[in-house]
């Protein structure tokens, strides 16, 4: 077992003919992901590498190929519409890799998809990897091996560090979920922790957080009250200068929370072992 993606995942790539879309489609195909369709407006009828049909819209792609998962490689100004489009086409799992989407756009997106039975992962995330089965997004496939560790992270490349560190000591992952670092995203820590808690393959969980927001604090509450599986964590940004992001009003809303020290404290109080640096994580999982 695994969570979210596996061998039955039928993927449509939104923005498949773009530079990044094409590169990572090939990487995904090479990894063994079942990429059934691509989508680029105006290029319907073309083929990618002579085996992936391209459609003019997600709806047409779904009708023709039964795609059940979408990954978005589309410039930030068009990505919100790509998410709406995938949601409207009935795709139940949408992974948005795109970075730099405007916050107000994401508020509209999130409030819209919350009305539908749709899970969005990201944006500004590296995607998903179920080692040995399927990879959706940009996580390099060769840095992780199959195993029993569930990995969830707000960061992109930092996630790779952790997967790689696990691999170096022979530890593998059930699924790795990059939820993305944007202030407004589709899936948060608690959503993924819950899935790992119910996934028989997952034995322990690694959670990679960072400064800002209160998601890690909520996760700590959830871990303390609902989780039976051990969780190991790392929080990035211990040395980050404070107040570089938002002014007055933001500080009011977040009630002064969001520092790395506070998050570490909350997690440790919930029984989570917190690593000093990512390469320390494997030893804490032993």
């Amino acid at each position: 077992m695994s969570i979210l993606i596996n061998k039955n995942t039928r993927l449509v790539v939104q923005g498949i003919t773009g530079n990044e879309g094409l590169f990572h489609t090939r990487q995904m195909v090479a990894y063994g992901t079942n990429v059934v369709a691509g989508m680029t407006p105006g290029k319907g009828g073309e083929w990618v590498d002579e085996k992936i049909p391209v459609f003019d819209s997600v709806k047409l792609a779904v009708e023709a190929t039964g795609a059940n998962c979408s990954v978005i490689f589309v410039p930030a100004r068009f990505a919100p519409d790509s998410i709406f489009e995938a949601a409207d086409a009935g795709i139940p799992l949408i992974i948005c890799i795109t970075e730099g989407i405007a916050v107000q756009d994401m508020m509209r997106v999130r409030n819209y998809i919350d009305q539908k039975k749709v899970r969005l992962v990201g944006p500004n995330c590296p995607g998903l990897l179920t080692p040995g089965e399927s990879k959706v997004g940009i996580i390099p496939g060769d840095i992780a091996i199959p195993g029993n560790m569930g990995v969830v992270s707000r960061s992109g490349t930092l996630t790779y560090e952790v997967l790689y560190a696990l691999k170096l000591v022979g530890l593998g992952a059930s699924t790795c979920v990059g939820i993305g670092g944007d202030p407004i995203n589709g899936t948060n820590f608690i959503d993924v922790l819950e899935m790992f808690e119910h996934d028989p393959q997952t034995e322990k969980v690694v959670m990679i957080g960072e400064i800002g927001g209160t998601d890690e604090d909520k996760a700590a509450e959830y871990i303390a009250s609902k989780m039976t599986k051990p969780v190991v964590s790392f929080i990035a940004g211990q040395t980050a200068p404070p107040g570089k992001r938002m002014g007055h009003a933001g500080a009011i809303i977040e009630g002064g929370a969001g520092s790395a020290a506070d998050k570490v404290k909350a997690l440790e109080a919930a029984g989570v072992k917190v690593a000093k640096h990512p390469e320390e994580i494997p030893s804490l999982l032993k």
Binding site: V103, N111, T239
Partner: protein, 379 residues
Amino acid sequence: MKLHEYQSKQIFARYGIPIPKGRVAAAASEAKAIAEELGGRVVIKSQVLVGGRGKAGGVKLAKNPDEAEVLAAQILAMEIKGLPVRKVLVDEAAAIESEIYFSITNDRAARKPVMIASAAGGMEIEEVAAKTPEKIIKVHIDPLLGLRDYQARDIAASIDLPREYWKDFSKIATGLWQVYSQNDATLAEINPLVITKDKRLVALDGKMMIDDNAMFRHADLAEMRDVDEEAPAETEARKYGLSYIKLDGSIGCMVNGAGLAMTSMDIVKLFGGEPANFLDIGGGAGSDKVAAAMKIILSDLNVKAVLFNIFGGITRCDEVARGILVAMDEVKPKVPMVVRLVGTNAEEGRKLLADAKMITAETLADAARKSVAAAKGKK
């Protein structure tokens, strides 16, 4: 991107929010002329993109044009929190009855815009929030539906605004919502919104922050950016889409991904070094971006060593290597460089850099340790 008070208030006025009469001046004589035009008492306000101007002496009341000239000259000679004052706003002085705090910003936990108001206006609002949170009223706005009239009314009632001002307050709330939503603001703040002795509501001070990710639809706002207020390196970084923040240490860091960049800084510190900067080259950076990033790092003369930590995903290690080579060719750096490349096309990247004299590292801890040692002149 932050806007100046005078810019924010100009935008407010466009959406029907009443502001005091006034104009911005870059010289004391200009300030005098504006004061003559306005007649009566005026307020001279330094225009710098930091808070606490009042406490720093950057806001003064002038009784007449001559005094305005003198005070403007004083303020224009000031530095506030390290920033030289280049402009002053000359506003007619208001006779204030009472002050209100009023703003809209993003509530990330609720995933909605939130309108915030308090009868304790003019004060440091963080202080009010900390000491008397019950005096802060928050109302969430549905991003698809927009602000509704009853929400403004609820706020007016909750801050005990006298009923005679409700209609005007409602219009200001609608204006502020438009300011926020039509300009992709992350903050649109009026502090204070005052009731004047002659019974008007006026936005005496204004502050706006714009979402940098939304600038593509706001060419007009992009023109308002005051590059004088930024470190030149930050201006340069933005031009290339790099996220750069200068710090005080000696180890320059170039990393892909904000989380990994922060982690690299953390681990440098853990091993006894001090990071010289935060620099995220973002996802999928090409060689030109990498070269620009390297030049920015090396423009900081405190830098004694540079740590490149690239874990390829959407970013390809070979592209990064190419950028490093281009930059090295141009800049001819004299400080040691520690490079760690892992992930997408790492092999190709390493091959490209094989001939350059660089210290290589396998793990992140190893890279950090080597950087710290290199900065201290050890190999």
